[in-house]
Amino acid sequence: MLHVTLALVATRPAWPDILVFAASASVILIGSVGVVTARNPVHAALSLVMTLFGVAVLFIEQEADFLAAVQIIVYAGAIVVLFLFVIMFLGVDRHEDVTTEPLAGQRPLAFVLSAVTAAGVIAMAATAHWVTGAPQVVGPIQGHITDAASPAGETAQLGKQLFTTYLFAFEATAALLVIAVVGAVVLARRPPVPEHPDDERAESELSS
């Protein structure tokens, strides 16, 4: 199975793939830059949605169909909506001054360090040999469109692994979600307001 995969990777890509990649990449990049430079937080959130869509397309391109769907539903549909909700709730959808920088040396340093990181990663990606030939941990990805041997597909395989090999992590993340919800409730509630003593007295007089 491995050499099949390798062969797939090593063959000259078809022009639809290139096109899809190029389009998605530009969408992603424009969205990212938009997030970073938008003055209005709402604009930033919308740019983020754009980016997430682009990433979802790339997921599909790389045969991670289930993840693409989850990305749209959870990330774009829930998380960004939550962001927008909080922005509106707090009423901070005002323009922010992005030109000035109160902290000295922050911008130059940020650019330099991030550029170094990016350059390093790209250099590594270009020059390193990624395929190690090590045995697969959980089995090859099945469900390629032209693969007739396993018609159940990649989703089924992912699900199977989640409920067997990664079961503990799965349960732990379930617990994590519960904790997050409880934490959010506790954080966000208003402290109980003590009742006015006069009201209490009046109330008791009325009832007696």
Binding site: D17, L29, A64, A184
Partner: protein, 101 residues
């Protein structure tokens, strides 16, 4: 049939960088949070790329968990932002510096 993985990795690196710059440069807490989401997405893209390159479904499983944890993190983080806003009426990160040594 798809492009070689290096392209995807490079793209992910660039997105990550943009997210990092945004985190360090922007002052609005909510926008900083969105930049964190950008970085997480870049990481997800990388994982899925490797899942394809190595032929290992484990990469996708990791992405699944990253998604879940990112969701939980956003929930709690926004809760903190809301609480802080109630006290100080500001979402500028620079105003939250009372823990300075």
């Amino acid at each position: 049939m798809s492009l070689s993985g290096a392209w995807y990795l490079g793209l992910a690196a660039v997105v990550f960088t943009i997210g990092a710059i945004g985190l360090m440069v922007r002052r609005n807490v909510l926008v900083m949070f969105m930049c964190i989401e950008l970085m997480l997405n870049a990481a997800n893209l990388t994982f899925v790329t490797f899942a394809r390159m190595l032929g290992d479904i484990g990469g996708q499983a990791i992405v699944f968990f990253v998604l879940v944890v990112a969701a939980a993190e956003v929930v709690v983080g926004l809760g903190i932002v809301v609480t802080n806003f109630r006290r100080r009426s500001t979402t500028v990160a620079d105003d939250l510096n009372s823990l300075k040594g």
